[in-house]
Amino acid sequence: MENIIKSGLADLFSELEANEKVTKLSSEESQKINCEINTEMESFNIVFKEHQIKSQISASRTFLTF
């Protein structure tokens, strides 16, 4: 079943490539994009962790006050 889906998708892309304008980025360019976004996500993880800790403290305080 999976092979049927994969071959269907491959056929579809071949058809699109034949009929539509296709621009392929080189693997270096693609890697650059991946790196750029992944670095951004890693820095977000650090901010997110700090935020989580702050929220937990704040939530505990709210709970105790309540």
């Binding site: 999976e2 998708l9 539509e20 621009t23 392929k24 980025l25 991946n34 976004i37 996500m41 929220s55």
Partner: protein, 223 residues
Amino acid sequence: MNDITTSYSLPNSNGQIDIIDFADISKKYVIIDDNYPPYQMSTFESPSSYYQDTKLKDLKITNFVVPLYQKTYLEASKAQKLVLSVLKNNYIGYNVLNTFKNGKDHLLLRLFLTSSRSFKSNVLLNSLMSEKLKDILLLSPMPKFIWVAELSNKSLYSQKKAFGYIIVDATGNNSMDSVNLIVYPEKLVIIDKRRNYNFIEVNHGSFSIYLHNLKGEWCKWKT
């Protein structure tokens, strides 16, 4: 819809993308509060506004717990950040489109978690979607759960229409490896096995937004 203002702007080399995040639109939620009869209506910003006591009237939500399917590792804030990083990227972002360069309309972003089965079922029944786009979405392998960022603008959304998707693997991590497919109004961004980007220029127009993500009266509460 016209009263809604920008939620945030994403800067990039071609200017900035003004985004209206659907999550920021004020909505009322049905809540259960043990101190009150069930099914109170309240907003997220002031969840205890129905209290008479002034000390309790201004409570704020600081944390909440959402039970997710056990294999859903990518939580909402990280999925949102990933989608925004894609949108503002100079090579694969929204700014590569003529739609962005020609008009400076707001981009309306609606991010939701759904199963790929429900999503594909909705795609199949979407009468406004082009057959080519349907084929691509239906034939693309997707994990059990996906985050779907539905892209639209104010005028289209008021007609319950959208023009694009960013599909993210909800069972994956928060990196580009989890981005499955990007559908823009003029371009499809296909990511191949080697994680290389291929742009296919298509003109698939707009299609109906994804409705009925949850069970309700519309399906008589049946799956």
